[in-house]
């Protein structure tokens, strides 16, 4: 089977896997854009909306959890064609394979040669160039187990415009300006009241 046919078949199964499995296949491979660190740590109940700024370079943490009672022996991630892979963090215990698509761009990332034990999790890190369009993109990902079975996941990231300028978030600038504008008449009233009080005091003297 040629590489592109494999990608097509994999993509097809990824798309229908939520319906085959009877529930959305989210969560056991998850993306964490803007990741800086060694291992991803997620708090219980923490709400996670993976977002990254369009047309920028970003480090994505890929969290792989093993919730089966078999070892995970291989992890595969396919980048959407709108993204460009720049680098992959070296993982001493894992072997890395990068496979190109039919245009020659490396989009298929494979880690094997080590294991993720049942109940354990592993963090992989890739650096990629985000696309120029605002959209929600799915990274088709496969988790292969010691007995040859696999689970297919579709972790996603929303690529959005920047929400900052000069380090300040737009919401801060907008709300801050509103507060200042509405405070000014109140300041004027206060100054007026102070002035009138001063005048009355002056008159009484």
């Amino acid at each position: 089977m040629r590489r592109n046919e494999a990608i097509t078949l994999l993509s097809f199964f990824a798309l229908i896997s939520p319906y085959l499995m009877g529930s959305p296949a989210y969560g056991l491979i998850d993306l964490f854009p803007g990741f800086e660190g060694d291992q991803i740590e997620v708090e219980e109940g923490e709400f996670h909306t993976p977002s990254s700024i369009l047309n920028s370079r970003d480090s994505y943490g890929i969290l792989v959890k093993n919730e089966r009672d078999l070892d995970t022996v291989e992890v595969q991630v396919i980048l959407p064609e709108e993204f460009q892979l720049l680098s992959v963090r070296e993982e001493p215990e894992w072997e890395l394979f990068l496979l190109p698509d039919n245009t020659g761009r490396e989009r298929i990332i494979i880690w094997n040669g080590s294991t993720i034990k049942p109940g354990a999790e592993e963090t992989f890190v890739i650096t990629i160039q985000n696309p120029t369009n605002v959209f929600v993109y799915h990274f088709i990902s496969v988790q292969i187990y010691a007995n040859g079975e696999s689970d297919v996941w579709r972790p996603w990231v929303q690529v959005i415009p920047s929400n900052q300028i000069g380090g300040l978030e737009f919401v801060t600038l907008g709300v801050g300006a509103v507060v200042v504008a509405l405070a000014l008449p109140l300041v004027e009233s206060l100054l007026g009241a102070v002035r009138k009080k001063g005048e009355r005091r002056g008159n009484s003297l």
Binding site: F47, T49, F135, Q158, F170, L182, P185, E188, S189
Partner: protein
């Protein structure tokens, strides 16, 4: 949210509008311009500026509007709203349908109030002409804009509703109609809050009602911020008082209004008697 209006535009509208208000304050706060043209005529007693129905409509609309804006901003930018919901210990993420429900309740209340307002102010009081902009308003607007930029203290006397109030009212009307149309469309055909976030783009039609809704929503917020700013200015305190108590004193009328400004009101008061 990814499929809504970019934040640089939504919060940019608020930022630019507020800067305009700050500029206005800087030009007027210490000059306190008032009409220098003499008041021709006599005003013995105060006038009813706003009757009971109008005042009740105004403050009820304020409450409904606050509900709509609070729930709307929470839906638009839940991440920015998190500190508020965390502080109040109320759910946010995963509870969007509840926020949409209260957003619709507030919007429906606004629609009913506006219907009452139209029946009363247009049907009963025949006050349409008081609020509809005319050519003289544009001339007056230019004079006042020039005065603002030059720092002149001389401004013309106004009718009951000056040109800025009329254009504010007109823009409110347009914004509300656009919000109603795009909101109803989303509710019936593009209910993005009922699907996972990664599918939001797929329920949105090509003409992007969410973006139009956000644009007019933030324009409406900016307009009401401007309205609130002018209401809080010390020079307008008597008008704010009239929106609570109903009446304007003879001194205030002589300070800024044309003698014929309250003619319509006098006529309607005569009819009621």
């Amino acid at each position: 949210m990814p499929h809504g209006l970019p934040e640089i535009l939504s919060y940019g509208i608020l930022f630019v509008f507020s800067l305009g208000l700050v500029f206005h304050w800087s030009r007027r706060a210490f000059r306190h311009p008032l009409p220098t043209e003499a008041f021709r005529g006599d005003v013995e007693n105060g006038k009813t500026m706003f009757d009971k129905v109008q005042r009740l409509f105004h403050w009820s609309t304020t409450l409904a509007y606050i509900l709509v804006v609070v729930t709307g901003v929470a839906l638009y930018d839940p991440v920015a709203f998190e500190p508020i919901t965390n502080a109040l210990a109320i759910p946010l993420h995963g509870s969007f349908p509840s926020y949409v429900f209260w957003h619709i309740v507030g919007s429906a209340a606004l629609a009913i109030l506006i219907a009452i307002h139209i029946v009363w102010d247009v049907g009963k009081l025949k006050g349409f002409r008081l609020m509809w902009p005319v050519k003289a308003d544009i001339r007056e607007q230019i004079i006042r804009a020039k005065g603002l930029l030059s720092g002149s203290r001389d401004i013309p006397r106004t009718n009951k509703y000056d040109n800025f109030m009329k254009f504010f009212h007109l823009t409110l009307t347009i914004a509300f109609m656009a919000l109603a149309a795009t909101g109803i469309y989303q509710l019936l055909f593009a209910a993005w809050w009922t699907v996972p976030i990664e599918l939001h783009f797929e329920v949105e039609p090509f003409w992007r009602p969410t973006i139009i809704h956000d644009l007019f929503g933030f324009t409406l917020i900016a307009l009401v911020i401007g309205h609130t700013y002018f209401a809080l200015l010390p020079v307008n305190r008597p008008i704010l008082g009239a929106m609570v108590k109903g009446h304007l004193s003879p001194d205030e009328i002589k300070k800024r209004y044309k003698p014929e400004a309250f003619t319509k009101k006098v006529e309607s008061e005569r009819q009621e008697a």
